[in-house]
């Protein structure tokens, strides 16, 4: 049980406090309800570029990192297609330093031209390092465009192309900030060696007078139901062929999420999973194979990806995957196998909750889903899943018409 208290400031900022006196540290986590899905198609990669700019100085404080480091703290941030999250950890005595820094950059950034110029370059190097200069680096760029035609999940958080980042202007930066980086669109979680009263006082003092901002009304184009199987073959300078298959699945808040999540574990979660045992160990068609999803807030993609053993025919490999999928579509799984993936889930959740930093991040995420308390009832929902649910999901989701298949072929055999 994660215990926490919640209160809301006059400007709409939601604050959650999770005291844990066993650590000398405090964690301050600020989640902004904005991700790459909120970008426009001509200016992709912006939410992530913006995350970099959040460290380039705020209206009253020229540098974010330095005062935090002086206070013995460290920090980081990440951007996904759905959200942007900033977190720092520092000795609890210096908690107010984190409030000072986080509130000032919620109030307003410095909007420095130098910072924008430099971070554009840094993000371009990040783009190259992860997506251009790596074998298979463009897979998700390609797959997203294949699987999504309307919804903004069709581009990656790093952006669709380098030029979108290179062309970002200070006006874009300002508009994005005042639209999304406001108290009404944010969730603040404070955890560690702190008290609720102390956090109330500090939150009121540092965040209380920041203008509320306008509630961002998300109105994203829904992805139309896919009506026929989509296939694409690309040739790349990689050593091995690989296959990527995706199917549209439910959104994170959907009741079916839990059964879908367990289904991915049955298929590809670890060394005793069906795809690994059958295709890597028994048939030896693949060097590795995985099944996973991203837990996307809007309708996501259930994914199978595998790298073929050199010399194996791609069609044969794909047929072998389909044969395994047939089994989950046709047969109910036995109790032991279902219990196995539930046990695994329970264990993953317990290990995730080991650190205060993770607990703070999870609380913010569940609050974004609707209520931080969901963190405590989440495992119950997995417990209620039955074999029949997985069977139904397998038949609803893993259909040909709902599938996107990418053959990623080596052009240097």
């Amino acid at each position: 049980m994660i215990k926490f208290e919640r209160f809301v400031l006059g400007n709409g900022l939601k604050v959650l406090v999770h005291p844990d006196p066993s650590t000398p540290m405090a964690v301050v986590n600020v989640l902004y309800d904005v991700g790459a899905r909120d970008e426009v198609p001509a200016k992709t990669g912006f939410a992530h570029l913006f995350e970099h700019l959040m460290f380039g100085g705020s209206v009253n404080i020229p540098d974010y990192d330095e005062p935090l480091q002086v206070a013995g703290g460290e920090n980081n941030a990440y951007t996904t297609n759905d959200l942007t999250n900033y977190y720092c950890q520092l000795p609890a005595d210096n908690l107010e330093t984190a409030f000072w820094l986080e509130s000032d950059r919620m109030l307003s950034l410095a909007f420095s031209k130098k910072s924008l110029d430099v971070q554009r370059k840094v993000v371009c190097e990040e783009f190259k390092e992860h997506y251009i200069n790596k074998p298979y680096g463009d897979v998700w760029h390609t797959m997203r465009e294949l699987a999504y035609k309307e919804h903004p999940y069709r581009w990656m958080t790093i952006g669709k192309e380098l030029s979108h980042i290179e062309n970002a202007t200070l006006e874009d930066v300002k508009a994005f900030f005042f639209k999304h980086y406001t108290p009404i669109n944010a969730i603040l979680v404070v955890a560690g060696n702190v008290s609720v009263d102390q956090v109330k006082t500090l939150a009121e003092k540092w965040f209380g007078d920041i203008p509320s901002g306008e509630q961002y009304k998300r109105n994203l184009p829904a992805e139309p139901q896919q009506a026929e199987a989509r296939r694409l073959t690309v040739h790349r300078n990689v050593p091995m062929d690989a296959i990527y298959k995706t199917w549209h699945m439910c959104a994170r808040r959907d009741d079916d999420y839990y059964a879908t999540d367990l289904l991915t574990d049955i298929l590809g979660g670890g060394a005793s999973s069906r795809l690994y045992q059958s295709l890597v160990k028994e048939q030896q068609l693949f060097a590795n194979i995985n099944c996973y999803h991203f837990g996307s807030l809007d309708k996501g993609l259930l994914t199978i990806e595998g790298q073929l053993i050199k010399g194996v025919d791609m069609q044969k490999a794909e047929d072998a995957i389909e044969l395994e999928l047939d089994k989950v579509r046709k047969e109910l799984l036995d109790d032991r196998e279902l219990q196995k993936v539930k046990n695994k889930t329970e264990s993953v959740m317990a290990f995730e909750d080991m650190s205060v930093m993770n607990r703070a991040g999870s609380l913010a995420f569940y609050e974004l889903l609707g209520d931080g308390e969901l963190m405590n009832s989440e495992f119950q929902k997995y417990q209620h899943v039955k074999s029949e649910d997985l069977h139904r999901i397998a038949n609803e989701v893993l259909t040909a018409n709902n599938s996107n298949t990418l053959w990623y072929l080596s052009d240097n055999k």
Partner: protein
């Protein structure tokens, strides 16, 4: 409305008294030592069995790592699948990792499942059979993994710099070619397993919320095994550094970035300069606010990130700078690294910057000691390096007390470009 131009008062992190909680220790009947940190909020445990079975003991390349990987891929009673299914059913993780001196088997599980899982761990330490079929799959999959990695400039640079520093025949410098995997035979694995696992040298590190009868359980399942019976053989591997200091390698004609490694040999933890250089390194390139990061990322935008670090080896360390930079700015990046070395040798570090580094180091140390897994991790590192907490407290004191003049002296001792290997792999 608060005055936002004024920073709140802070307590300097260096004023904190840092304590490294001591583990409980006990010995099994066969003399195997168990170090245990009982703490935490979640009902979970982590147990690491550390064997002296790293590539230091290889008589043929990769036998140590293959034996470590395949140790759970079959016993005379259970197939690889049955073992995996058993571990997964109890929501556990049974991982293995092979390093230079040591090879480790790690169990993570919920506390209440521990008693069910320990018999299986015993089984793999006594009865692993290394089936031929499993070895064939391993060979094939490792060859493919290597082929993919060889397309990455950072992977190629990482192994080349180790070779330049330590020599290809040294366990720290050796690396694999695809054909090496074909050389490994089942007999090699069985022989290595018999010597370095079944009758090997083992130390146990555990943490979390252990069950009440933990000591008895460990003794029941591991206390009668023939571990630690003979003294460990003393194997020496001479370091043979390369004669050529500067290297440029084209791995991918179309590469848009170069992987840069700049490195020199450095003494071990036991050298009196080691703790002090940890501080100098932090200031130089050891954290986000370092001079390298501030100059090369935050001012010039040449890279997504640049770091320097002391390599975590037991017999000999190295001081390394590592980054991936745009292909056209690799040379400029290297020049800036040398420029920052020069600044440290010739310029003065002001008190404010030094205080920032000290506070940062102590603050992160406080944060790193959060939770039982982190605490046992510190202890494992100390014990495997033949050290105790006096080394830890000495390092803390060094951070708190070191002066700018001492750091400058160290920079003049160690940060000379001519002493460094310089490697760019595009």
């Amino acid at each position: 409305m608060p005055d936002r131009s004024l920073a709140p008062e802070i307590k300097d992190a260096v004023e904190y008294k840092i304590e490294l909680k001591r583990p409980d220790t006990f010995s099994l009947d066969n003399g195997v030592k168990v170090y245990n940190v009982q703490a935490g909020t979640e009902e979970v445990v982590q147990i690491e069995w550390v064997f002296k079975a790293g590539n230091w003991f290889d008589s043929k390349k990769n036998v140590s790592s293959a034996a470590n990987f395949l140790i759970k891929n079959g016993t005379s009673k259970k197939s690889a699948y049955e073992i995996n299914e058993f571990v997964d059913f109890y929501g556990a993780y049974l991982n293995r990792n092979c390093f230079n001196e040591t090879a480790v088997v790690t169990l993570h599980c919920l506390t209440r499942q521990l008693a069910q899982l320990l018999p299986l761990v015993r089984e793999i330490f006594t009865d692993a059979i290394f089936p031929e079929e499993e070895l064939l799959i391993y060979r094939q999959n490792m060859k493919q993994k290597l082929a993919v990695n060889l397309r990455k400039c950072d992977f190629v640079a990482g192994r080349k710099i180790d070779e330049l520093l330590f020599g290809f025949k040294h366990p720290y410098g050796v690396y694999s070619f695809e054909t090496d995997y074909d050389e490994i035979q089942v007999e090699d694995l069985k022989k290595f397993y018999a010597q370095y696992y079944q009758k090997g040298h083992c130390t146990v590190f555990s943490a979390g919320i252990l069950p009440k009868d933990y000591q008895q359980l460990m003794n029941q399942f591991f206390g009668d095994l023939p571990f630690n019976q003979k003294p460990l053989e003393n194997i020496e591997h001479p370091i043979v550094s390369d004669n050529q200091k500067k290297w440029n390698i084209i791995n991918d004609e179309e590469g848009v970035q170069g992987a840069i490694r700049i490195a020199r040999l450095f003494p071990t933890r036991k050298h009196p300069d080691f703790p002090k250089v940890q501080v100098l390194n932090t200031l130089f390139g050891g954290f986000f606010g370092s001079r390298l990061m501030t100059n090369i990322r935050e001012d010039k935008g040449y890279t997504y990130g640049i770091y320097s670090f002391l390599v975590n080896h037991i017999q000999s360390s190295a001081w390394m700078i590592s980054t991936e930079a745009g292909r056209t700015v690799c040379e400029a990046t290297i020049n800036e690294v040398y420029h920052e070395m020069k600044q440290l040798r010739e310029g003065d570090i002001d008190e404010e910057e030094l205080m920032l580094v000290k506070n940062y180091l102590i603050g992160t140390l406080l944060g790193d000691l959060d939770g039982p897994f982190h605490i046992i991790g510190r202890w494992k590192n100390l014990i495997l390096n033949d050290l105790d907490d006096s080394f830890f407290y000495h390092s803390v004191d060094t951070i708190k007390n070191i002066s700018a003049a001492e750091l400058k002296e160290l920079a003049n001792k160690y940060l000379h470009p001519e002493d460094f290997y310089e490697l760019v792999v595009v």
